[in-house]
Symmetry: D2
């Protein structure tokens, strides 16, 4: 399914007068506060978030899965879906692949399709947390950490194969998330698991092409229930430091113990020059993988404030959403997530960092809080809408999605029983 | 120290044009969304939050205390401070007393002072978590739950004495927070502690005057480190149900285990007709007792949404801030807390409950989220400022506090080494 | 597969001298401490734990499933497996069914098989957290709480059908665990969900036969990620109280927020006469569903101490294991769980409750801790082994399981690719 | 107060026959399992835990303090108390000082007293979390991280002064715990705080004498309620790595977010050669600072298992208890803590590491758990008692403490209103 510019324009038209009134008032207010509105809009437009192929379909939980219809059944259809999202939102010009779920049988056709849709592939993801049909050795007891050298080699080879697919499609990031760990005290020796993993990662790192980076995620639990080999940023940091400059840490918002101050981890990794990428989502309890900003929007704003501070460095993290859609339409959910990302990024950009710094220097605690909360209280929806409008997108992507009957069209084209992921 | 209307007017004057422009634009927008702005403003004005006497001074932690200056040294001065807060914010027309820290030696003088300041006393708080000089029996091992009948009686008598003080000052709420509990497995028998506590509460309940309510707090830990006698809402609920209609549960936002869904507890207690009161504060880790809305403003909004839904019932909870100010000026902190309470209450009031209900009925999950987040994204600061303005308060209480040099004046009057609380 | 008494005897024989030496020494020590060893052994023998049919196969996580071999493919085979477990451990003389996974097509044959194996069925479990093929209405947005009356009725009818199956098989407990809840703020109205659920439960309760009880579980999250309709014991308690005497609360050890004091909940529910049943498992992070006692054995002991204290009441909770075996052989895991249950129950039984009470009364805190820890430090493995021995079981069930090559036999009989559950 | 060998012997005498019977049986059992009992006993005897001076008096909470009597009022009396503990337990031959609470006015007298009691001082602790009377600049907004260079210098100078006191008394460890952090988003810039802290630590590190180590603690919260400058092991690790070989990380068991796998952190720090020291205590909720092993004894065992594995390295961590005694007699509490440390260390030593390794290599998950739990189930109290007996200590230190009426004697000597700490 394609959405053409005329459809977008037509959808925007009726909302334009109301939008214009709100945006003009807001722009005027911001300008009086010495904020360069055009520059702010450009920065928002430049924040492009990668959409992972697996987020385009209905996710499941341990207990059940309630599929929707019209899900993409192959890579071409997944690219089509991200195309729709990007046409509406102008916020996601790339798609992340998951191997083996998205093995490109015809790389040229894929590249052509990407070009047509104005998309790229930045990152490729390996999968050593499931056994695939016909796989020689099982990952039941781990992959890169496994006590059996043969399993480790198989997992290393898989990662190298993923790099090869990525090279075919002009990607430049390999993301490694490991389910490796143990569920019972005594099951694994922590040190052996760490050493085996690091050694396997070194073998993969050797194959990382120049200009690429390898991102190493961490996660405290699930699916391992007692220990994971890379549970926290410190462990990932110690490993990527050992690996070299092309290896960096990836922060997934859902991969932390209760009450963790994530924005501080972001700042620390930036200071240590090891923040390589970001997986956006939100959660209340564990790795809930729900819509970005749906539970803790202020925490999202605080994270963006650190990312904005970090923009002065020359490292650009890889941005991605990582979510699982059990109850919502996956595309609706992604549109909401993209909106919350742009909204909170824009709010963070309005903070006068010099004023903040001065207030911090003099320890005027209440005033420091005022500065942040005043930025957060701003209603910047008209500004984010204007950024989309200027880029050719929809003023209200979610409304457009419904008005244009995207899901109904997809169901008509694809049927009601396709399955998007390997989960 | 007194702030007179002329000072407020003079402070507001220079900000009025800017305020008027913003408020008019906002009011116009809200009106178009079928929101009755004047009625909204009146509701905000009517939400009056009690300030506890102990929040007027610098709090400490287990590790240290860094006092500020100009703290109120007696009850008259505490009333004076709340008077200042209310003059600026028009949001806190009552003060809560803590016995024995605030024993009124001359009740008539206190009542006269309250009247002069336009304040009342709603609630009185007992203290059985410390030993006072000259006290016969120690609360080291509990008070209402104590294994020694004599200690229990002493604690019951203290609560009855607190009711007497409350009657003198026209209060109508007794708030009971118990530190009772144990720090080691085996130290206490859960059942005995529960039964002793309930029995003691019955003795106090017998003395609750008609027209009063007794509020029973719960808290999972601290200062007890293994078990508290009333750890959760369920335990408090089971007790207040056994006590009778005048006994209800009080929810303190900081008294929950990690990740608790507090808004659901609020809704459940309302449904069960047992939500009696509310202690506002915020926290990231434990009972941090920091400024309302400083960490999780969206959670605060969600709680207010439930309270707004509950307004249709005829029970009016007792509202209070319960905070501890270790780093900020206590009065600045309270002004920020009051602002965040009014702001999120106002946002909750803009939700169209019928539309929400319909959307919930049809399980349009993404749209349900839209409704809430659209209300939360509204910048209602001009509306809350207008509510204050119309009530005679300051457009920006915190700025006024600084411009009028309130703290400097208080230090001049009271010195730098007064201590406000018994902690 | 059957294990006959001769195989057990033969296995025990070589270990008997060593066992006897240890047991005699232990028994002598216990006797000197005024503990009646024979009575202790009888109590341990009487603690029979139900095994749920779904724990007999390999469980999965959200990310993958690594099946083992020889899993039971139908109800007869599940009964066979529990027969093996009980023959070895003499600790689990009943099996719990899950409908629709275990619909008995021929009730008489099932009853005959149960009789042959010396087993019974105590509890039956309904399933409204998945959609079954051919099901008319979906549980995607809830079951007993659903906004659509038709879905609620379908879920009520399913529960009534489960009761009917239970009656055929002489069960006397209906266990209700609901996945009902919401994953996003705003998705559900807490009060409506509560009321709908309670109303549906009332319809089911009406069909609970005399002599039965209906158990209502609670769980804070998963698969719902923002709110569950029955998140905590307080909510379950408020509902079972409204329902009547045949409705009680079930405590699943994994269904609590971080740091919850579960033993206190057990004691409180007993005091309130509403503790109806127990699901044993262990966890470090969330509802990890791992082997009983594998992470927090002391907490398990403390829970048993409360259960022992509660034995003086006339209510006997329904005991069950509820676990998911991702990495271990399910039968090995269950044998370990049964061992840890018996071990900690036995330790709890050695506590002199009168001495404990006296020490608590006099607030000798250090000594209270001594009493509990001295009981916990006791090595009661020989006593638990003796209890099994006298009942005809194996001294070391896990060793026997391996020596008798149970799994190898099951694989030979059933193959390597059977699947035990509907998950 | 002194306890002489004759008193100990006399106390032990009556218990000797019972002890001997139990120990002989146990030793026989262990020997059959190929455990060298004498060597095990020697290892237990060699594990000497430092007692911090501040743990000798009653601690308080944020809410109140219930002092006991006979507390040590000066450094000589504190040494006396540790002497009593060591005479009874033979497990704590050193005392850790806290400056400025324990400034040695006469170093020679202190050294003489230490020698008399057979004690040493290993570590000295700085305090920049409180303001001392007469102090020039306040630590209200931080110390080593402070935005004001003058405050940072004051804090650095204090640490250097602490080193000087340590040198006088032959210590060789400086322990740095910082309360530095912020309580509100925006209050501090994470990066500036990190950089300032590291820079200050470098200035201190320059003065660390040869043969010493500097230990850097981490803690996620309290007294700071939003962020602490060194919240987790990763941050401490990144700093001590930057500092040099004499800087290492200290693990305090209570300084972790809920559900943290601490034993893994211990193993990782050992692998990275940066585990410098250990603060033992236990907790259920936060930094509860309660008796070692009183809540999670199995976790303590698992930590010791890692420490035992790490013994093969040449680094010996500094062992210390860090606890706060609100309800128990401090000396009774310390005796219980020392007992639990020795007990779990001994259990960990009985694990056959080669067998464990082999079982892990073959991924026999259930058997791995068996190995650990079989060690944990052993009742090694007779062995730990024998270790004490052979070293001249009491078979049952806590009973001896009571029988010898230690507290009563201390109260007689010192009165009932001394205060041991500066908290």
């Amino acid at each position: 399914m394609n959405i053409n510019p005329a459809q977008i324009s037509s959808h925007n038209e009726s909302q334009l007068p109301d939008h214009k009134e709100k945006f003009d008032f807001l722009a005027n207010q911001l300008t009086r506060s010495n904020i360069d509105v055009d520059s702010l809009i450009k920065k928002v437009q430049n924040l492009q978030i990668e959409v992972p192929s697996w987020a385009l379909g209905t996710g499941g939980t341990r207990f059940g899965r309630f599929a929707g219809g019209g899900e993409p059944g192959n890579l071409i259809q997944k690219i089509e879906d991200v195309g729709v999202l990007n046409t509406l939102s102008r916020a996601c010009d790339s798609i992340s692949l998951h191997i083996p779920w998205d093995i490109p049988s015809d790389a040229n056709a894929i590249k052509q399709e990407l070009k047509t849709k104005g998309l790229t592939i930045n990152s490729v993801n390996s999968n050593t947390f499931q056994d695939q049909p016909g796989q020689k050795k099982s990952y039941k007891f781990g992959s890169l950490c496994h006590t059996d050298k043969g399993v480790r080699k198989q997992a290393v080879d898989h990662n190298i194969e993923v790099i090869e697919y990525g090279k075919m499609l002009d990607a430049n990031v390999l993301t490694v998330w490991l389910a490796d760990g143990s569920s019972f005290p005594g099951q694994m020796d922590f040190r052996t698991a760490y050493s085996n993993t690091l050694s396997s990662l070194e073998d993969i790192y050797d194959k990382i092409p120049s200009g690429w980076q390898m991102l190493l995620e961490y996660k405290p639990f699930e699916p391992a229930f007692y220990h994971t080999v890379i549970p926290d940023w410190g462990t990932s940091y110690s490993m990527v430091t050992a690996l070299g400059n092309k290896a960096n840490t990836l922060v997934d918002l859902g991969h932390h113990l209760p009450n963790t101050n994530i924005e501080q981890i972001v700042a620390t990794l930036q200071l240590l020059n090891k923040l390589g990428g970001f997986h956006f989502n939100d959660s209340k309890y564990a790795d809930d993988d729900i819509s970005v900003g749906s539970i803790k929007p202020y925490a999202l704003f605080l994270i963006f404030l650190e990312l904005v501070k970090g923009e002065q460095t020359n490292m650009e993290p890889a941005w991605m959403i990582d979510a699982s859609h059990n109850l919502k339409d996956p595309l609706e959910d992604l549109l909401q997530s993209l909106q919350n990302i742009h909204l909170n990024y824009a709010k963070a950009l309005t903070v006068d960092l010099n004023e903040l710094k001065d207030t911090q220097e003099s320890n005027e605690v209440a005033q420091c809080q005022e500065i942040l909360q005043n930025a957060f209280q701003l209603d910047l929806r008209p500004l984010v809408a204007e950024a989309r409008l200027r880029a050719g997108g929809a003023l209200h992507p979610l409304s457009a999605f419904k008005d244009l009957k995207v899901r109904e069209n997809l169901i008509r084209e694809r049927g009601t029983s396709t399955v998007a992921t390997g989960l």
